[in-house]
Structures are given as structure tokens and as C-alpha cells.
Symmetry: C2
Subunit: 457 residues, 2 copies
């Protein structure tokens, strides 16, 4: 797909150079807003504004909603008041609210000044809700029906009011703003009796979310139930908006990217990689790097403590990286598995005993297998093949026993920390590889030197 975008960019650049505006118009009309937005990315301010003016009104609004906020700002600064007026009122209200949320104050002032009163009211309503809440990603443009309407009346109402709604396919039956039920256009169209009241067709057990429900939970619910939209209600059960599946898909992708970034020891970033400067990347990466580097002091202290023992048995040093890496890998396998299961809602804190017991059994299997393999490797490769006679049977035993114990410790720490974090309201994703590795490193060295001291010296 990215290849396709790149090709379009070249075509349009050439057409712009040749001032063939009608041809550009004809080409743009065949494209999806998301693709047009991707092409825009590559042009300078002047040409972007020119291209934008070539788009039909509705496509222009949809394309605008897909653009990065910096580009949006540039475009708006170039718009006349009339152009801005047209654009703002053509946007879906949730996109307009996003825009207001991201623009600097002076641009916001212009946008709100150009919004029609109803639009301004709805934007402000959405902006009242905290970031990442259902209220903040919902749209207030949905089709509402009355319970006593007939099927025919309902269809007429949809045909009359549907054009500005983000989805018409799920309609909500309300009375005095109270949400009574939901009915799909499919049900209405396929209804045998055109005179039947809507209330006889509607599903009364409609699943709704609160305005403050976390957006990730809303997205997971939409994906679980395969709904096109979920109604959002306030604390009195009055309907205030809907969250549609396309916004839910975006939330799922964003939240997962955030989780992955946290799991790799980074602060989550809002910009795409290609738009981030090295300075942006630095700011997101250095906090954890610095923290983890300082934490490794403990591991260093443990080694310093056993310096004399190590000087006498330098051969032990050669196995430190293998033990540390295997511990880190074992721990991150467990922690990442648990973090993902937690974020998909497959696990919760009450499963903790089951999880720990499962990890202990898995660790015993992994630990024994690795210890056996390691023993063979040390005796055949390190001792026989390389002829390192410093390695005694006892050394090999110490290393392999440490290996098995490290795997056990790593798996237990790896599965416990994310669950504990979840319990106390921390983000489990932070308890992933880098963090676990640092803890497991220190623990595995303690075990190593402990066993070595007992058996070798």
C-alpha cells in the first residue's frame, strides 16, 4: 500500500508542475481519503493548500480528518474564514472535537468562531470528557427513533436525517433521552410488517457504556460483540452519543502500540516513527535506559562482593552472560504473555494463583530441559572440544543448577509483577522485559554465587 502511495505522489507532483488541475481533480476523486492524506504528507504548504482546494467538499473533510495535526494546523493557517467555516461544519463532530483538542489556542479560537452554534455546542460537550474516555471518542451524531414510530416512519426518518450521521445502520430508540433499545436498519428493512411499532422490533437488552468508561474497554467490547457502534449513556441512563467501530479499531491499534512501546522500555509516543526527530526518540527512550542502567548497579555490587571468589575461579565469569540472558528471556516470556492476556481481558487478578502455579510447572519443564542441554554443552563443547580443563564436573553442575533455579525465579517474577501492577492500579505493560531482566539479573547472580560458594570454595 505504501508503494502505491509513493507512486501517486509522483504522478500528482508531475501534474502539479504541468498545472493540469482538472486531471488532478479526476485522479483525486478516485482515491480514498486515507490515501489522499498519505499523499498530502509529501507536499509543501503551498501545494497542499492548492491540492486541498481541488477536493470535493465532503472528501475534503474526510481527508482533513486523516491528516497529521501539524499538517492540519498549516492548512488552517492558510484558510480564509469562509473556507474554515465550510470545513469545520462538514467534519463529523468527533473529528472536529479531536481537531480542537490538538490545535494551539489561537487556532482553536478561529475554529470555534467558524463553527455553527449547534456544532460548537456538540464539540464542547465532547471536550468535557477526560482523555481516553468513551465520552472523548464518541460522536453525538446518531439516529434516534421513538418507540411508537412504525417501521415505515422510522425508515422515512432515517432517509430524512441520515445524511449527517456517522452511521445509520444501528438506530437507538429513546424516550426523553432515556435509551430504551437498539434496532438495526437490517431489522427495519427486513421487517415483514411496515406498520409494526419500532418497539416491537428493538433489542431491549442493548449493551451500553458510560461516558467515563476507558476507551480501550469500549474498543474491546465492540470487537468482542462485533457491533457497528456502542451507545454511550450518562449516569442517569440518558443517551449522549455513540462510539463507532472504526474509531474502536483505531483505539485498538493505538493502545497496542503504546503497550508494545512500554514493554520495550519506552515512553509511549503519539508521532509515527518517520515524523519523530532523533530528539523526540531520545526523550522517549532515555528515562528507562537511565533508570535501568542505574539499577544495574545492584548487579555490579553483587559481583564486586564476590570479586575475590571470582578472581580464584575466573572460569565462573564466562557463564555469567548465559545465565543472565537465559533468566531475562525466561522472565520476559512469562511477563509478556501475562501482560497481553491482561490487556485482552483474558486474565484478571483473581486468576493469580492459577497463573503462578502454571508458570512454576512450565518453569520446571523449561529449567530441567535447559539445565540438561547446558550440561551437555559445557562438558562436550567447552571442556572436551575447547579443552578448557578449568571446568570441572562440579563447575558444570553449579552452572546448570543455577540455570534451572534462575528460570524458575524468572518465570515466577515475570508472571507476578504484571498481575501485582494491575492490582495496585499500575500499568502492567511497564513490568516487561527490561524491568524484569534487571531484577532477574541480580537474583540469578545471587543464586549463582551462593551455590558456587557453598559447593566450590
Amino acid at each position: 500500500m505504501a508503494v502505491q502511495t509513493a507512486t501517486f505522489e509522483k504522478t500528482i507532483r508531475t501534474l502539479l508542475d504541468e498545472k493540469k488541475y482538472q486531471t488532478i481533480k479526476d485522479v483525486l476523486v478516485t482515491m480514498e481519503p486515507a490515501d489522499i492524506a498519505a499523499v498530502f504528507d509529501d507536499f509543501g504548504e503551498e501545494r497542499m493548500a492548492l491540492l486541498f482546494r481541488l477536493l470535493p467538499k465532503e472528501t475534503a473533510a474526510e481527508t482533513f480528518a486523516e491528516l497529521e495535526s501539524e499538517i492540519q494546523e498549516t492548512l488552517i493557517r492558510g484558510f480564509s474564514d469562509r473556507e474554515l467555516h465550510e470545513l469545520v461544519n462538514e467534519l463529523y463532530v468527533d473529528d472536529a472535537a479531536d481537531l480542537v483538542d490538538e490545535m494551539p489556542a489561537n487556532v482553536v479560537k478561529r475554529i470555534l468562531a467558524q463553527a455553527d452554534p449547534q456544532m460548537r455546542k456538540e464539540i464542547n460537550e465532547i471536550l468535557r470528557y477526560p482523555e481516553n474516555s468513551a465520552g472523548s471518542i464518541m460522536t453525538t451524531e446518531y439516529v434516534s427513533l421513538r418507540p411508537k414510530m412504525t417501521v415505515a416512519e422510522a425508515i422515512t426518518r432515517i432517509r430524512r436525517t441520515g445524511v449527517d450521521k456517522e452511521t445509520i445502520y444501528t438506530c437507538y430508540v429513546t424516550e426523553g433521552r432515556k435509551l430504551l433499545g437498539a434496532v438495526s436498519v437490517k431489522d427495519l428493512l427486513l421487517a415483514v410488517d411496515d406498520d409494526a411499532p419500532v418497539s416491537s422490533l428493538m433489542d431491549e437488552n442493548v449493551i451500553s457504556v458510560g461516558t467515563l468508561t476507558d476507551q480501550e474497554e469500549v474498543a474491546t467490547m465492540l470487537s468482542k460483540y462485533n457491533f457497528l457502534a456502542l451507545p454511550v449513556v450518562d449516569t442517569d441512563g440518558r443517551m449522549v452519543g455513540i462510539v463507532t467501530f472504526d474509531d474502536a479499531m483505531d483505539v485498538l491499534v493505538e493502545e497496542t502500540t503504546e503497550d508494545i512501546e512500554k514493554m520495550a522500555g519506552m515512553l509511549p509516543s503519539e508521532k509515527t516513527y518517520l515524523r519523530s526527530t532523533p530528539w523526540d526518540l531520545f526523550k522517549h527512550r532515555i528515562p528507562w535506559l537511565a533508570l535501568l542502567m542505574i539499577s544495574a548497579t545492584f548487579t555490579g555490587l553483587i559481583i564486586t562482593n564476590f570479586e575475590n571468589a571470582l578472581a580464584a575461579q575466573v572460569v565462573l565469569t564466562a557463564f555469567i552472560p548465559m545465565l543472565m540472558d537465559t533468566g531475562g528471556n525466561s522472565g520476559s516470556q512469562a511477563s509478556v504473555t501475562i501482560i497481553r492476556a491482561l490487556s485482552l481481558g483474558e486474565l484478571e487478578f483473581s486468576d493469580a494463583p492459577k497463573v503462578v502455579w502454571k508458570e512454576i510447572r512450565t518453569a520446571v519443564l523449561c529449567g530441567c530441559a535447559l539445565a540438561a542441554l547446558c550440561f551437555v554443552k559445557i562438558m562436550l563443547f567447552d571442556r572436551l572440544l575447547l579443552g578448557n580443563t578449568d571446568i570441572t564436573l562440579m563447575t558444570a553442575f553449579v552452572v546448570c543448577f543455577t540455570m534451572a533455579l534462575t528460570v524458575l525465579i524468572a518465570k515466577v517474577v515475570g508472571c507476578s509483577l504484571p498481575m501485582a501492577a494491575k492490582k495496585i492500579g499500575f500499568d502492567p505493560a511497564v513490568m516487561a522485559s527490561p524491568f524484569i531482566t534487571t531484577i532477574v539479573d541480580a537474583l540469578s547472580l545471587l543464586v549463582y554465587f551462593g551455590i558456587a560458594s557453598a559447593l566450590l570454595f
Copy 2:
């Protein structure tokens, strides 16, 4: 949500004990298929079959599609032929194909024997396509219209044939099975002129995918364009089916979980965590653990090579874990960022020079900051506070210089390997933390001992 499921399970268990079947029916009718399926999980074979028979026909089919394959198998084995016949023909054809794909041969035979001829034909058509292709996740049940139909005729056709279709909201205009365009029910309903031909309303620039397009690409496209469905066409441009947004959402979640598992050095698993036995977990985790453990031999060899130097300067050993961990963390930050950007389609191989240059600049920033911090830490904490007089200014310099270089190497390796993997057709996700860590460990030790040999001995 999981809490809610648990409560339902208790209620239904009590009602079953009291044989209050009508009450159970009334309760089940209020629930979504996904929630009913979650409750089923907790009952034994006999009670599951009993519960299943209490469901209305359509809900039964939808619930069945949400069940884990082991439970599906158990249920089918308990069904009479008549029950199986009813179920199979009520399923959406993509769910039926999934079912046939997952059941053992003798069960498949029974399912196909009970399927109506048309259903059997469509199941077999879907099963022809390779796993993870668009063809394998599509459904053949969509609404097709002719270009010359009027809006009124089209709506009549939808009302007549729509009941069995997975979505009626996007209709496809075909002639001789060739895909000409798409038209939404919204466009049809909102059309001003009921006698206008469908061809005048349809979008001719309809985006379609091939039967062999990778399912992840299909899902990304659906999410990018906010479509309800994407048409699937064969190599001659003939329409064969559609992929709907709900299947795309499932694919997105599944593929991301797979990526995350690979990034943590595990083979991807199809079962949820709670359903996996320790033996399952062991099988998925041991291959990478073993491989990486063996690879750590190189790191061990490097240390062995410098054993004499280390014996003379044991203080150097204490910094090994810090250098290795920081290198590993720096590398995995870069690799994970790139892997995610690749899988979201934000990056491709041609961006490689840009990416490497960006990582180099980021690495210089991170490396210098960490080296400075490390220098302060060593001189103030290790030397002054702990009074470790073995640490000279020169030692501190060697450690910090190694630190900066290691970060640089780690970032470059971390960003290059996933892009290279993508280029040669490997899965970039495998090039994540554990793999990168092992390589960076060895490289950073070489640098460390190299610099130390040059400056200290």
C-alpha cells in the same frame, strides 16, 4: 466484563440445579452470543448440551461460532443428525468453514454430510484458499446488485435476500460476476430518486483484495479506510466474497498477539493462556530459550579469551551486567519500534537509510547522556561512597566509552535487522529483544575488552 461473566455463570448454575429451564431461557435471550459462549466454558459436557438446546436457533448458531474448538467438538459429538443439520445450515458460511477447518476428520465428515448442497459447495470453496489468506477468512454471503436495477428494485432485492447475508450495508454491483462497483444501503436509502439506476449511485473506484492477499494486509486496509467490508476478487476480477470488519478486528488482535509473542522469543500459540497446559507453554517457549542459551556461548568464549586480563583487573567484571543490559535495552527499543512501524505499514525497506541515520543520531544522544551519567555514578557512588579504590579514572573512562559505543552498535543493529528480515521475506518480529540482546552482548563485550586492552594493560 470478565466479572460479569463470572456472575452469570453462578446464576445459571443455580438455575440449572433447580431445573428452572424457562428462567434460564429468559436470561440467555437477554445476553450477547459472546457472553453466552464465555459462560458455556465453565460447564461440563452434559450441561453445555442442555444449555445449548435452550437457545433460540439463530442465537445458538452465533454462540456456537464464538466457542473454543474443543467445546464445539464436544457439543457436536453429542448432537443428533437433525440438530447438527439445523446448526450447520444456520451458521454463516465463513464460520462453518472455520469449523470444518478445525475439527478432526470424522467430525468433518458428519458436518459436511449434514450441510445443504449449496452450503457444502461454499464451505469447500473457502477451504480451497491457503491459511491466513483473504480467501480463507472471507464469506461468500454478500448482497450483489445489477447495474441497471433501480434504487427501488435494489432495496426490494435487499429486503428479499438480506436475511442470510453477513452484512447488507455494503452491496456490490456485479455483471457476469465481474465487480463493477459498490453502493451502500445508506446511499440507496438516502437517494432522492427511487427510479435512478444503481450504476448512477455506485462508487466505481471500489478497493478490492485478491483471494491470496495476506489477512493482516486485508485487516489493515479495512482499518485504514474505515470500511464495513472489502470485496475479494479472483485473478480475473470476478467477485468471490467479502471480508467483514468484525473478522478484520479479530485478525488485527490475533496478529498483534502473535507479533508480541515472537518479539518475546516465543512461538505463537493459538490457545488462550488459561487454556494452555504447562506442556503447551513449554513447547512454545523452549525452542528460543535453548537457541539463545547456546548462542550465549559466543559471549562466554569472549570472556574466556580475556580471562587473564580479567583476573588482573577483576573490577572490570562488575560492569559487565550494566553494559550488557544497557546494550540489550537500547537495541530492543530500536528493534521493537521498527518492527511495529513495519507491521503497521508506516515503514518499508526503502526507508532504511533514513531509519539508520535517525537511529545513529538518537544513539549519539542516548549514548552521550548515559556515558555522562555513568561516569558520575561510577566516580561518586562506586569510588567515593563505596570506597572502591580499584576504580581509577581510566577504568571509569573505559566503561563510559564502551557504554556510548555499545548504545550506538545496539541501535544500529536493532533497527537494521528487522528491516533486513522484512527484505528477505523473514518475519521481522523475530528480530526483537532476545535475538538482538544476544548479538549486542557479544559485540559490547568485544568493544569493552578491546578498549580495556588498549588503555589499561
